[in-house]
Structure formats: C-alpha cells, structure tokens
Point group: C2
Chain length 158, copies 2
Amino acid sequence: MTSDKGSQNSADSQRRQERLRHSGLRNTRPRRHVLQVLAVAEQPLSSREIHSRMGAEACDLVTVYRCLADFERVGLVQRHEFGDSNARFELNDQTGHHRHYVVCRVCHGKEPMDVCPPHWLEEELRARGYSDISHSMEFFAVCPHCRDDSHPGAPQRQ
Amino acid sequence: MTSDKGSQNSADSQRRQERLRHSGLRNTRPRRHVLQVLAVAEQPLSSREIHSRMGAEACDLVTVYRCLADFERVGLVQRHEFGDSNARFELNDQTGHHRHYVVCRVCHGKEPMDVCPPHWLEEELRARGYSDISHSMEFFAVCPHCRDDSHPGAPQRQ
DNA sequence: ATGTATGCAAAGAGTTTGCAAATGG
DNA sequence: CCATTTGCAAACTCTTTGCATACAT
C-alpha cells in the first residue's frame, strides 16, 4: 500500500540532502520534510497541500512557504500557476527537466504533457538580448472522462 | 498629448459597445469605462491598475472585478498570470487572437511575443479526447535594458 | 416591469513580515 | 559562535460574497 511512485527510500533521501547542501541551503528538518513530500507527490502541490501531507510532524505553514521560496530561487522546484490563485510546486530533476500540464476544467485533474516546445523560443529571446530565461505553459480543457460523464462523480484528482 | 496607441475615438467606442451587446451583457457605464481603459492599455492590466486608470469617475473596485469576470466568460478579454499573484487582463481582438509575453524579472516590463506555438499541441490534445481547450504561456527573463544597466533606474514599465 | 448590474461593507483565502528563540555548520 | 532558519502572531493583498439600491432593456 506504500506508494512507490516517487522516491522515498534512504538513498533518495541522501540525494535530496546532497542537493540541499549543494544549493547553499542548510540541511534542516523542515526542508528535508518538504522535499520528501514533493518527492512522492504524483502532481504539483500547493503550500497548504504540502503542509497537510506532512502529518503530525509538520512544521509551521509559514516555514513551508519559506522553504518553497528558497527552493524555487535555487532551482530545486518549479512553480505552476493553474489559475485558481494557488501556486503549486513540483520537484525539478537534476537535469533541470520540468513539466507542463493539462488541467481539467471540471475535475481539476492534472495530466503531464511531456513536451516542451517553447525552448526554441527561449533561443530566440536569447538572440534578442534576454538572459536568465524561463517560461510557464499550462493547458486547460475538459478531459475525456468528464466530457463523457455529463454528471461526473468525484473528481479524478483535485 | 492624447495617446493614439489604442482605440479611444468614438467609432471604436461604438464597436466596443457593439461587442458588449453581442455578448449578451448590458451596456453599462462601468463596463464601457473598463473596456475603454483596456482599449488604450499598452499591456495587460490588473483589476487595481484598471481601477486606478479610471480616474475620478471610477466605479467601485468590486465592479471592475465583476466586469472582468464577465468579460472573460464571454471571451472579450484574456487573463494572464505573470506569477505575482495578480491576474492581468487584456482585450481580445475580434478574431480571437491572443498574446503571450516576456516579463522582465527586474523592471517587470511586458513585451508581447507575437507567436503561439502551442496550437498544434491543442490539436494533439483534441485527438486524445480533450475538448474546450485553451492554454497559458509566459516567459520570464532579464530584458536587454536591465541586463546592461546593473543599476536600472526607474522600471521601464511596471 | 423585471431581471441584471452596482455600491458598500465585510468576509475569505493565500501569502508575507517582524521578531525572538532555536539550530546548523 | 554566528549566520541562518524556525515558530508564532499579526498584517497585507487580492478576490469574493451578501444584500439593498439603481439601472438597462
């Protein structure tokens, strides 16, 4: 029953702490905990969602906000804006790879797209003198499941 | 001294009121005023920015929010999320054309990109059974001006 | 006339800030 | 040791809601 989608064994934990140290951030319990929650998340999570998943041992919600701000600054996480004024975050992998999602307008499920076309546009921007370039891109649609069910039951994923 | 960037002559005003009526929305003074501000805006504006630009004759800020919600619902405006948790809006043209921007990390200036590569991705999503598809895409970077000035003066555009 | 839209007040929600105490390297 | 980080409380900002009044058609 334990999720094996993400990485939550000791070796992965070591690797995350390695990335923390390498980023110049101190290796604290709240930060390890936030990283661990993100590591096993099946989709981007908001600060509150992360805090909830930390359970009884949770640090203060404010600390989650501060961790995420730091993680974003050093490139450990990517921020997503899915339009519900709720910033969501996901762990970047070591290669700097990141994802874009389709968000269902009905069930709010989030499906990764696994493509990233704007990269050549970043090249063009670089040629125009821009530096330190990144981008956001999300899709919004009614997913096949919700289109068929006119009266969808419980949302697939929130 | 009057800006002629946007459309604020009487003919354009007529055309905007036409679009209002055609959308099934009542032709009220606050709505005309919000549309007029958007029509002459050189970049997407937040509710508060719109309200400020309405000057002494401004309607209530709440009404601006409601206008924008209505306008978005009927497709008159496009919403942008530039990452500062401040929704910004711009007028769509009649063809449904919309824009994507580069936002400078330093001066927060917004430059339109005039390209829209995700359209073929929407096709792919359609093929996978998704419907009612739209997307968001924004770029973030340090603009040439701010890269050169290590100590930028006043932000170019906010 | 009648449903729609507005203004005002107040609430809701996410996020940020100040500061003293705790902690990591 | 000392700079960084945390917790707690409170503030701040954007946005939404309730309801009586005003307005468009």
